[in-house]
């Protein structure tokens, strides 16, 4: 638990994954378009949960999102990734994951 907390904290401060404001804005628009959401992109809270409560996405959305993210950033989403829960935790964590794995 403490290790997990430490890793998350480290990820937020590490230079490679400090909040990517531009990418977050870009990703928010992509999410809204790909999933036909009513919420305006600028109203998606960077730290709010994407699934369940929060934005209320589900597994159908996850699949749609994987397609859109693959096309836009060349990043393949996986559920067997140990960090999966953290990757999908919020707009910020998803943007961080994409920033670390996108093809330059």
């Amino acid at each position: 638990m403490s290790i997990e907390g430490f890793t998350t904290a480290a990820e937020t401060v590490a230079p490679a994954s400090s909040p990517n404001i531009d990418l977050e804005r870009d990703l928010a628009r992509l999410i809204v378009t790909a999933l036909s959401l009513e919420t305006p992109a600028e109203e998606i809270e960077p730290e709010a949960p994407l699934f369940g409560e929060g934005l209320g996405l589900d597994s159908i959305d996850a699949l749609e999102l994987s397609l859109a993210i693959g096309k836009a950033y060349g990043v393949q989403l996986r559920s067997d990734d140990e960090r999966n829960h953290r990757i999908f935790a919020s707009l910020r964590s998803l943007a961080g994951h994409i920033a670390r794995h996108r093809t330059p």
Binding site: L35, S36, E53, D58, I60, S79
Partner: protein, 446 residues
């Protein structure tokens, strides 16, 4: 057709045959039975297993162990209101316990059995025939309002269904090399249960265990198993896999169920992947009852021993089971689906009643009038979602959504929700479709 015979043991497959391909290597029937017996020995005397295992091998192991112990397995929803499901299980099924893997989230509501914990071996007890009428699994339809309805599955019916599917899809020992199934549907969904639990137990099938949800995972899973490869999936996954554009390894067949498959998706699979695109028609209540090759056949051919007529199917071991679709029998013994009976809607493999959904909507605080709206493309767009138009003075769409959350299955939550002063009812109280569509059009603010 009665279901009986000495072959009603857990499995009639040889000990050396492969039942599962895992990351660590293939698992034989012999090894699987030994692990199932060891797990069964740790289970309580009496009980009901709530199988929540995400890993397909763990799910199969849990089901087999519960079977050996004489416990029915509750095939609970892995998504949706799981806590509500567990409360129901605790209240209605004596001795209910949760089976899950080390990776799965713990649920404090019920006793917990970790399926994949290491445990000492025990001598394999002789496999005795399991009575055909014994209920070994219970499927649940959540309905639209999340109150689960139970559908008992006697062992004989499941064995007969597996045999019928194997005959239909060439999965019997005499049909060729064993098939490898990669599935994108959870083992707790009736379609996933039949294809990734019953088929490997009973027929010449090995399942892939490991993640196979996202497109990249499906490709890796297919590459990791030997031919003959069978992809068991849904229209939703097929649409995404095709849009992504990578060609999978050679496939013996692709099977889809849970919703009608658009002709263009079937054509693309046959053309781009060079594989027969087969569709199964079924329901949680009846199980799989018919199939077709979508690009060639409009009519569905019932499984051997099953008869399908308007509104019901006669299923071996189950008897007469009502169906939620209008059916037109064809002269050649096939049948055509004429669409869902009015009021029924199906999304993400879940079926709900619009009347139920509208009733729950009306009960949300502040709602004076409201209606769910089904999109025009619900039958052709696998990602289609419901909308709602609500008269709720002073309330925001977010408040209405909060009121619905937890009371209906999440898949039915309206994606677009317009709050209006009054619903556009005509003098007869009816709601013209066009008027609702206008209210829901993008950019329209009430």
């Amino acid at each position: 057709m009665p279901v009986e015979g000495p072959d009603l043991v857990l499995t009639t497959r040889d000990a050396a045959e492969i039942i599962c391909h895992r990351a660590g290597g293939p698992v034989t029937i012999g090894q699987f039975l030994a692990e199932a017996a060891a797990l069964a020995a740790t289970l309580p005397e009496q009980g009901h297993a709530v199988n929540l295992c995400a890993d397909r091998y763990a799910a199969l192991l849990g089901f087999a162990a519960a079977l050996l112990r004489g416990h029915p397995t509750l095939l609970g929803a892995r998504s949706g209101s799981l806590d509500g499901f567990l409360e129901m299980a605790a209240a209605q099924y004596p001795g209910a316990y949760v089976m899950a893997g080390a990776e799965d989230e713990r649920r404090p509501a019920l006793p917990f059995i970790q399926v994949d914990a290491p445990r000492p071996g025990v001598p394999l007890p002789p496999l005795r025939p399991i009575p055909a009428e014994r209920v070994v699994a219970i499927g649940f339809t959540s309905g639209s309002t999340g109150t689960p309805t139970a559908h008992a599955k006697p062992w004989g019916a499941l064995v007969a269904a597996a045999a019928a599917a194997a005959a239909r899809f060439g999965l019997r020992p005499q049909d060729g090399p064993p098939a490898s199934i990669v599935a994108t549907v959870p083992p707790q969904h009736m379609y996933g249960f039949e294809t990734t639990m019953m088929l490997p137990l009973r027929e010449a099938v090995a399942i892939h265990a490991g993640a196979s949800f996202f497109p990249a995972e499906v490709h890796d899973a297919l590459a990791a198993v030997p031919p003959r490869r069978l992809l068991v999936t849904t229209p939703l996954h097929l649409r995404v896999l095709l849009a992504e554009g990578r060609r999978p390894p050679p496939l013996a067949a692709v099977i889809s169920a849970t919703a009608p498959l658009a002709q263009e998706i079937a054509l693309a699979v046959e053309r781009d992947w060079g594989a027969p695109m087969l569709e199964i028609y079924g329901a949680t209540e009846a199980g799989s009852v018919a199939s077709r090759r979508t690009v060639r056949e409009d009519g569905w051919l019932p499984y051997d021993g099953t008869r399908v007529r308007d509104g019901a199917a006669e299923v071996p071991g189950l008897g007469t089971v009502p169906l939620a679709d209008a059916i037109e029998p064809l002269p050649d013994g096939r049948f055509r689906l004429l669409g869902r009976l009015a009021d029924m809607v199906k999304l993400g493999g879940k079926r709900g009643s619009l009347a139920d959904l509208n009733r729950v909507l009306a009960e949300v605080p502040g709602v004076e009038d409201g209606v769910f709206v089904v999109p025009e493309d619900i039958e052709s767009n696998p990602a289609a979602r419901l909308s709602a138009v609500v008269a709720a003075p002073g309330r925001t769409p977010a408040e209405i959504l909060d009121g619905l959350r937890g009371r209906i299955d999440p898949v039915f939550l309206p994606r677009r929700l317009a709050v209006v002063a009054a619903l556009p009812r005509d003098p007869l109280g009816k709601l013209p479709r066009q008027a609702l569509a206008t209210l829901l059009a993008p950019g329209e603010e009430a």
